[in-house]
Symmetry: C2
């Protein structure tokens, strides 16, 4: 049983085949799949799934804070089950999304919110650019 599945059961959700498939897709994904992608992948496990169920399930998980919804300046949403605080770099050429963490950035953002007199409940940092081939960064 996946970790997500356990959380859903604990929350009192009925564990159907469709939900199990979707949860497994999310748990396995190391990218940030769109609804369509989640749909296609989960359909391989349970061909009876409809895209309406994927939408409903993803929204449900979103409300339960088990998945996070992103938009990355596209015309469709993307989802991820990685709940650890992190940020994203989007390659504007390929659409590839790279996750990164940075404690100095965390701290600065907290400081800024505090200085502004705000309670921070969420944050979004997205860097857009190109992979730089002559840089040692991806070596």
């Amino acid at each position: 049983m996946t970790e997500l599945e356990q959380k859903c059961i604990d929350a009192g959700l009925k564990m159907t085949g469709q939900r199990r498939a979707i949860l497994e897709v999310l748990e396995r994904a190391d990218d940030h799949p769109s609804v369509e992608t989640v749909y296609l992948r989960s359909k391989e496990m349970d061909s009876s799934i409809s895209i309406a169920t994927v939408y409903r399930t993803l929204n449900l998980l979103g409300q339960m804070n088990l998945v996070k919804k992103h938009d990355f300046n596209e015309n469709h949403a993307r989802f991820e089950a990685n709940l650890e605080q992190h940020y994203h770099f989007i390659d504007v050429n390929t659409g590839e999304v790279v996750e990164f963490k940075d404690e100095e950035l965390d701290a600065r953002l907290r400081q800024i919110a505090n200085d502004l007199g705000f309670d921070l409940v969420d944050r979004r940092v997205e860097l857009y650019g190109h992979k730089n081939p002559d840089n040692e960064g991806d070596s």
Copy 2:
């Protein structure tokens, strides 16, 4: 003549009444108006404007990098003509958007991109939270 208008003329765009109205709305706005809002405001200056023209003009200005498009986790886009690098704090209770700048943050983001081996072409930082009434931040 507004600054935006001059830039559009320089770029070879025909300066119609509708465009003048939309440009003026953008130039005057100190908030981050939605398409609908830009439409309503510009309609007051030129009642013949259709929302299709607003969409077309806003997209055009976006491509020309004269306005920036945001989504702020809503179901519609918002626009702003403020081209200086800045970030946003969104009050999750009121939807109010506060702009801020921070050089330390700028520097950190540049450093991160560099370390990752990326060329930075755009960045988005959005902090979500509540105005904290017992904090001196907004005094």
